[in-house]
């Protein structure tokens, strides 16, 4: 049985690969966008997994813990603080893309990427 950290790394890799597949090969724009959100989730999961410590504690210093014990046993809080920002950024980027999609649908009446985003010179 592989340990949790390795499994979570593999899981984040799967998310990134599935997302890349969707963003590249699927034609429907909404599905491309869903794929993009999976890529972002995979990257966030990767960062969080780096911070994990097997049998560790949550990085919150409670009154009954001694600092020395806490330093050696807690998960690393820096990546968690970073991911918090990156989750929000991902959501706002998604909102912008979806807004553009709605305008494009109104203009073309289709969600097919090869129809809308094909060569503009034709």
């Amino acid at each position: 049985m592989i340990d949790v950290q390795t499994a979570a790394l593999l899981c984040s890799g799967c998310f990134i690969l599935v997302g890349l597949y969707a963003a590249i090969f699927l034609d429907n724009i909404i599905k491309k966008i869903i794929g993009i959100s999976f890529i972002e989730e995979g990257a966030n999961l990767f960062l969080i997994t780096l911070a994990y410590k097997p049998n560790g504690v949550v990085p919150i210093l409670l009154p009954d813990m001694s600092p020395d014990w806490f330093i050696t046993n807690s998960a690393y809080p820096l990546p968690q603080a970073l991911v918090l920002t990156s989750v929000v950024i991902g959501a706002s980027t998604l909102a912008v893309i979806l807004a553009i999609t709605m305008v494009l649908y109104k203009k073309h009446g289709s969600l097919s990427a090869s129809k809308i985003l094909g060569d503009s010179n034709e």
Partner: protein, 497 residues
């Protein structure tokens, strides 16, 4: 006063939010945006050079009392050198770059206000947000901080594209967002690899860890992080294969918008490029990678610019191709070449802004940008024609202007570093750039006027002429006295290597 350093980022962002709230109140938006745009360069002049630690979190080693209270495995090792909080560094390079960036922002805002009857608070929001975010990228010493503001800058860029009136703007913005959503998380994953290896995202800490042998520069994780971050870098600056989308977004925005977009790209190029050089300069193949992609960018962009028929697209390709010079300077990697690349970046910021605004006036007058349908405009607007011509000379590197100085420095550095081929290619490409420029200048101004060319408006707004003139004066002054800025740059580079 080092406390003024974060204000360079905070004030544009607060201004952006304020102007977005004020949207609809026409005269108030105008007054507030112009006042803030004038105030921004003043902050630069008032603040001192130095470091600013956010929240006062300086490294432990600077703080004796706190250091002694920690166990010995922290206080006696390299851990006490780590930067705990976000650090901003403000020096000569940042001062010069940001001064010209803010000046460009002021000109763009001024031009937009004069061009449109109703000034839009949202557009001002986008411009200020872009300016603030690239300022943070240039000041920051923290690669994740750079990533965050990079994403904000990209979103602001998309907004600036959407605010134009081109009929292909939504498609281009959508493509840019989709490609960006692949490039961004990949960059983040690369940063994650670095973070897992070093435990810090501070660039100084990472490069110290590599220098002191704390991490092996040939470990797979470090190499992999290089690959991913490098991919993020070529995405963010528009080297191939992203040169098509980058030139497309320049050609879809409004003229002053394109100038801002290009300025944002140049600053992003410089800040990520310097970060990559500081972290990975110990790897032997990094310079080769940078040189290879820059060469591809220069060759492909310049040849595409030659065969393109859309005026704005040609300038977009030229602007992307000029970024290759910066890349070559970084790739050669000597002190002189990096200084020259920084100087070239500054020149490019100004010259491409001049060309975008100058040829944008043509679009404003005739509503077409196909060079086959244009011609004979010199009799209507000789002043603009001459100023744009001098701008083109500056881009191609004709002696008394600033482009000449930086390209001469680049060529000298290539020769000194035993890369004569690169010097030959730089000269060749600058000749072809000049040829492309003559082609569009001939097509727009000198060729006999076609029968079906309708001139919709007779007068160019005075603010456009004013902006072009200011940019031209900067070109000439920097060309005659390059030491004004080069001294600061070489001091910065001396501290870097």
């Amino acid at each position: 006063m080092n406390d003024l350093i974060p204000l360079m980022v905070v004030i544009p962002i607060i201004a952006a939010i304020l102007l977005n709230v004020l949207h609809g109140k026409n005269s108030l938006v105008k007054i507030v945006s112009v006042i803030i745009a004038i105030c921004l360069p003043l902050i630069l002049l008032l603040s001192n050079y130095g470091l600013h630690y956010f929240g006062g979190h300086s490294p432990l080693i600077d703080n004796g009392d706190l250091l002694n209270s920690f166990p010995s495995f922290i206080s006696n090792t390299n851990l006490s050198n780590l930067h705990i909080g976000i650090t901003y560094y403000f020096g000569g390079l940042q001062k010069v770059m940001l001064f010209f960036l803010f000046l460009l922002g002021f000109l763009a805002i001024f031009t937009t206000i004069n061009e449109r009857k109703r000034s839009s608070g949202s557009y001002m929001f986008l411009i200020f947000m872009g300016l603030g975010s690239v300022t943070a990228m240039l000041l920051s010493d923290d690669i994740f901080h750079m990533y965050i503001f990079f994403e904000i800058a990209i979103t602001a860029q998309v907004g600036i594209i959407l605010s134009s009136s081109d009929d292909q703007k939504y498609e281009t913005a959508m493509k840019y967002m989709i490609l960006g959503s692949i490039g961004g998380p990949i960059l983040l994953t690369g940063i994650g690899f670095l973070l897992g290896l070093v435990g810090s995202v501070n660039i100084t800490d990472i490069s110290n860890a590599v220098k002191s042998g704390l991490i092996d520069p040939f470990s797979p994780v470090f190499l992999f992080s290089f690959g991913l971050i490098f991919f993020g870098w070529i995405y963010s600056v528009g080297l191939p294969p992203f040169h098509t989308i980058k030139s497309a977004i320049y050609s879809k925005a409004t003229p002053s918008g394109s100038a801002i977009l290009q300025a944002l790209s140049v600053i992003i190029f410089l800040s990520f490029g310097l970060a990559i050089l500081r972290i990975y300069s110990h790897l032997p193949f990094v310079n080769g990678f940078i040189i290879f992609f820059s060469l591809c960018g220069m060759i492909l962009s310049i040849t595409m610019a030659l065969v393109e028929t859309d005026l704005r697209r040609i300038i977009g390709f030229l602007a992307v191709g000029e970024l290759g010079y910066l890349g070559l300077g970084f790739g050669i990697g000597t002190k002189l070449s990096i200084t020259a690349a920084l100087f070239q970046g500054l020149n490019e910021l100004i010259i491409t802004a001049l060309l975008f605004i100058g040829f944008g006036a043509i679009l404003y007058l005739t509503k077409t940008s196909n060079i086959n349908k244009l011609g004979g405009l010199i009799e209507n607007h000789p002043k603009i024609a001459i100023m744009v011509l001098i701008g083109g000379f500056a881009m191609a590197g004709v002696p008394p202007l600033n482009g000449f100085q930086s390209k001469l420095m680049l060529i000298q550095s290539a020769l000194n570093a035993n890369f004569p081929e690169l010097a030959i290619i730089m000269i060749l490409i600058s000749i072809v750039t000049f040829m492309t420029f003559t082609k569009i200048f001939h097509a727009v101004y000198l060729k006999p006027k076609p029968q079906d060319l309708k001139i919709e408006k007779t007068l160019v707004p005075r603010s456009v002429i004013f902006s072009i003139a200011i940019l031209l004066i900067i070109c000439i002054v920097l060309g005659l006295m390059p030491d004004l800025v080069v001294k600061d740059f070489s001091v910065f580079v001396g501290g870097l290597i």
